[in-house]
Amino acid sequence: MKDLSSNRLLKIFLYLALFAILAPMVIIIFWAFANQWPWPNLLPTSYSLRGVKEIFAPYGKVFPILTSSITLSLTVALLSAIIAIMTARAIVFYDFWGKGILDFISMAPNLVPSTVFAMGIHVVFIKMSLANTPLGVIIVHLIYTLPYTINIMRNLTESIGKDMEQQAYVLGASPWKSFLYISFPLLLPGIIASITMAYILSFSQYFVTLLIGGGKVMTFSMIMVPFIAKGDRTLGSAYALVFVISTLLVFTIINTIMKRFQKRKEKYNWN
């Protein structure tokens, strides 16, 4: 009996949490079309298409920038997931010199205020001619996303263990093939999670993109943030809405593609 009620409590908690996440989203939808929303009204008192017009205005190049921004973030996400898989394998399965240091390094970008790192790397990148180039931005985004992706991949790699791959070896699969046919499908949920996480981080990265991209590499955040910072709720919300919708679209596409790799969606896809 008590068990049933604990389950019910969890359900209530879950629905509350989901509501709490969704409710504010409604606000940005309203604000994207609202002009005035004075006290004490629960709904806006006047609406306008100012936000929509601004977004579709050709001079703002919102959509070209959105496209290139998505491409950039997807690249980062893919690379980040790949590097994370490699690093996680190394850390989990092998003993090598410097493992402890590596373990720390892979976490370190999280432990450094972005101003310090960004200003430092900026100078380095200028010297290496990486500043103001998409490659430079991809590299810094990678550095920022890797702590997350490495951790995700590492937990999963650890929990899957080496048993299955060993089995594949003795059945004649080379390490690469055993990875491809055995570990990769088993890691797939984690890979999707990593790609998602890295994409989110890259797509919403502002300061470093600004400094390293130098305005030559435009991302969506860079056109959105000034309006939010200025406190323009209508434009800020309109941009935010585009931000959210485009990302959800991207996730749907990622999921559809990934689903092709896996047969049993219901079992292995927790995305």
Partner: protein, 338 residues
């Protein structure tokens, strides 16, 4: 191909698990590896397959040193004790995995998988996933997959442990047939001595990371090198005594024995003991355990701590509490030098 294990030592977590193992398996030979739980059988198989690295020693296959060859090039295929089926693949995909690795085309793969599934009596299961089948079914799939890998050396780690006698018999025959047909050098780990005795050309007995005896089944059963080996095959009662002039002399009985002089322990296994009812005897049946085809009698001698066991093939009329006389079958007595 001939498999030679030379002086292999293995440590895990800083514990010495295998201690200088030497073992040669002839080309196409079928040997069994026996030994108590935890003695290192699985570790030895994994070392042969290259999954565990030895600290010392070498493994040779057909005269070639394997040590630096990665597992996937050794063609030493294990059926693991814990199956290790791939959860993201159907049974057919699991079984055709090694074929796919060899570059066999898809339809051929599937055909062969279905064939093998039939052989392990799992017809119609090809599209199930691993978590939809029972323990014994998993074990059979693991076996089928290993057979599909076309092994040069087949390492079976308790491959029949979850199967009932009938299935087990079929599977044994399947393995033996293929093994004979393709001359696969095979090592079977089992805890079922009957299985080992019936299937093997030779048996290696392991104890605590070492091989105590490596011999033909009958020899190992009838002439165990020490009480550890003897006990493993069937327990019985030990009587200490001495052999002099081809006779074993002990506190309890004297009997002819075809051995050199010296102190010996005589092992009386249940099968060596015949009983018949007799009212005026020192021996009493204290328990009669039903074993299907026969009964096991536990017999105590009055005023001593001598405990014996006997197999009763006919139900007869002997019951718990009856007094019995006993008779030893001297051909079934086992003498172990002390």
């Amino acid at each position: 191909m001939e498999l030679e294990i030379r002086n292999i030592s293995v440590s895990l977590s800083n514990k010495e698990i295998l201690k200088s193992i030497n073992l040669t398996v002839e080309n196409g030979e079928f040997i069994s590896l026996l030994g108590a739980s935890g003695c290192g059988k699985s570790t030895l198989l994994k070392t042969i397959a290259g999954i565990i690295k030895q600290r010392e020693g070498s493994i040779l296959l057909g005269g070639k040193v394997l040590d630096r060859l990665p597992p996937h090039k050794r063609r030493t295929v294990i059926v693991f004790q814990d199956f290790r089926l791939f959860p993201h693949m159907t049974l057919a995909e699991n079984i055709s995995f090694p074929l796919k690795m060899m570059g066999v085309n898809k339809s051929e793969c599937r055909k062969r998988a279905i064939e093998l599934l039939k052989k392990v009596k799992l017809e119609g299961y090809e599209d199930r996933f691993v978590d939809e089948i029972s323990g014994g079914q998993k074990q059979r799939v693991a076996l089928a997959r290993a057979l599909a890998a076309d092994p040069v050396v087949l390492l079976l780690d308790e491959p029949f442990s979850s199967l009932d006698v009938n299935l087990r018999k079929d599977m044994r025959e399947l393995v033996l047939d293929l093994q004979k047909e393709y001359k696969i050098t095979t090592i079977l780990v089992t805890h079922d001595q009957e299985e080992a005795l019936a299937m093997s050309d030779r048996i290696a007995f392991m104890y605590n990371g070492e091989i105590l005896q490596y011999d033909k089944p009958e020899n190992i059963f009838n002439n165990p090198v020490n009480t550890i080996v003897a006990d493993y095959f069937s327990e019985g009662t030990y009587i200490s005594g001495e052999i002099r002039d081809r006779r074993f002399i002990s506190d309890f009985f004297n009997i002819s024995a075809n051995k050199d002089n010296g102190r010996y322990k005589c092992l009386i296994r249940p099968a060596a003991l015949k009983v018949s009812k007799a009212n005026d005897s020192d021996f009493e049946v204290v328990a009669k355990v039903y074993q299907g085809d026969n009964y096991l009698l536990k017999i105590n001698k009055k005023d001593s701590n001598l405990k014996l066991e006997s197999i009763l093939n006919e139900p007869l009329d002997i019951e718990e509490g009856d007094k019995v006389t006993i008779e030893l079958d001297k051909d079934k007595l086992i003498f172990i030098p002390e």
